[in-house]
Symmetry: C2
Subunit: 292 residues, 2 copies
Amino acid sequence: MQVVSDPLAFRGACDEIRARGQRLGLVPTMGALHDGHASLVRAARQKSDVVAITIFVNPTQFGPNEDYARYPRTLDADVAIGRAAGAELVFAPSTDAMYPAGEETRVVPGATAGPFCGAYRPGHFPGVATIVAKLFNLAGPCVAAFGKKDYQQLRVLQRLVTDLFFPIELLPVPTMREPDGVAMSSRNRYLSPADRANARAIPLGLSAAHRAFTSGERRASALTSLVRSRVEPIATSIDYVDIADADTLRTYGPDDTIAERAVLALALRVAGARLIDNVVLGEDPSPIAEAL
Amino acid sequence: MQVVSDPLAFRGACDEIRARGQRLGLVPTMGALHDGHASLVRAARQKSDVVAITIFVNPTQFGPNEDYARYPRTLDADVAIGRAAGAELVFAPSTDAMYPAGEETRVVPGATAGPFCGAYRPGHFPGVATIVAKLFNLAGPCVAAFGKKDYQQLRVLQRLVTDLFFPIELLPVPTMREPDGVAMSSRNRYLSPADRANARAIPLGLSAAHRAFTSGERRASALTSLVRSRVEPIATSIDYVDIADADTLRTYGPDDTIAERAVLALALRVAGARLIDNVVLGEDPSPIAEAL
């Protein structure tokens, strides 16, 4: 496993991989790796010969009152997890290397970044799109893997790739969940044991909506109410529980009837942790394994 | 000479060039080619094996009251000029091909795009940066040539390449001028013969400032006044005659003393034509060939 911090050394290592005629797969992360990230590495590896992980807590995607400073930084453990999952290269740059003095260009998504988290974290998706464009240009991968847990991020980045003609295939990777259905997240480690147990209400709510949709329920408000009734008792606050077109992320109003593929997504706080999750209705499996 | 209009056909042609082990040079243009563009092709050819010209009148870099609709479209003549200058590939896409329905991602420059034309054409440089990022990703060139006549565009794109780590070398190419010193421009064809003759005041003014700077004048207002006094009689209106740091484009106030490499730039209207020009004080040759 090669670990580099200098951007041009990373580019050089990627150039060598391509010069050998090998396909490069990229897994951009903020570190604090868990099994969800390992599944991204495995997915990328299936579509490439060599997988590189990038580990960078990207300041431009955090708002002023968010958890940038306390976001977990666990490089040694991350390298071990990446190696075990099959990655051969890790890029872990400094902030100054990715945002040197004078740096100023931004990549700004459009309407796809508007609803959901985009409405609550105004600079988040421009920050994500900018850092991902930088990493794409440094690495020049054939494929890049992103998790469906960050569903809106995935859609924003699919637009980035399509709109700017990046010659890269994006791999959407299904959300990895704990045995009780809670989506794996680096931020779960902010939760107390009691809060972590309570978080099970999130996949239970999503599963209830998933089940109702499968049974024919198409009223947006009925589906979101099934989620809200379960998560309200355990949430310190709720940013949103909303349904949107699964491709464009145009949101449905409460009185709308869902016509197309739709994603039901939520963001809420449990004590100091902001948790997100989602289910693509009629497409994803239920977030909770259910008895047949 | 190969002429393609489909983006993926263009990418395929560029992929073939690289697959042969050849270096690709790119010359992005809006068409209406003249000898200035030919010099870009020759400069790119000196740094590459095969040169591709792109010809696309990019709608996102025009404001609502600008000359997008009437901008000259002369594809057949452009192909001939490109071929004569040594280009082997022309990409001339439709607007829908570069901006298909649903397209929404933008590349947005920072402070470098603030002064000069950025202050008078608010969406111009985001439009330029976005289309250039698209073309870079489609072509994947080693080098790309841009003229110093569009000095601010050049600086904005140098920031784009540096900030987003595009693996591309930008070639700044000196401004080509007519025998009387007027900078070559596709928009010169908007000028009546009388206005075209009057336009000689622009390089005369820049030359006067250039000469004064060489003689030791460092007061910003004194240098810009030398230009203004010559262009005011021939301009319908003047957007700006300003001096800025040649790298960052931080502008000097009228009472400032120029300490570093500086660019003196102007934009003005002569009848219906908006003309721009500039000189890098102490670096460029005089815009008017002067007797020794």
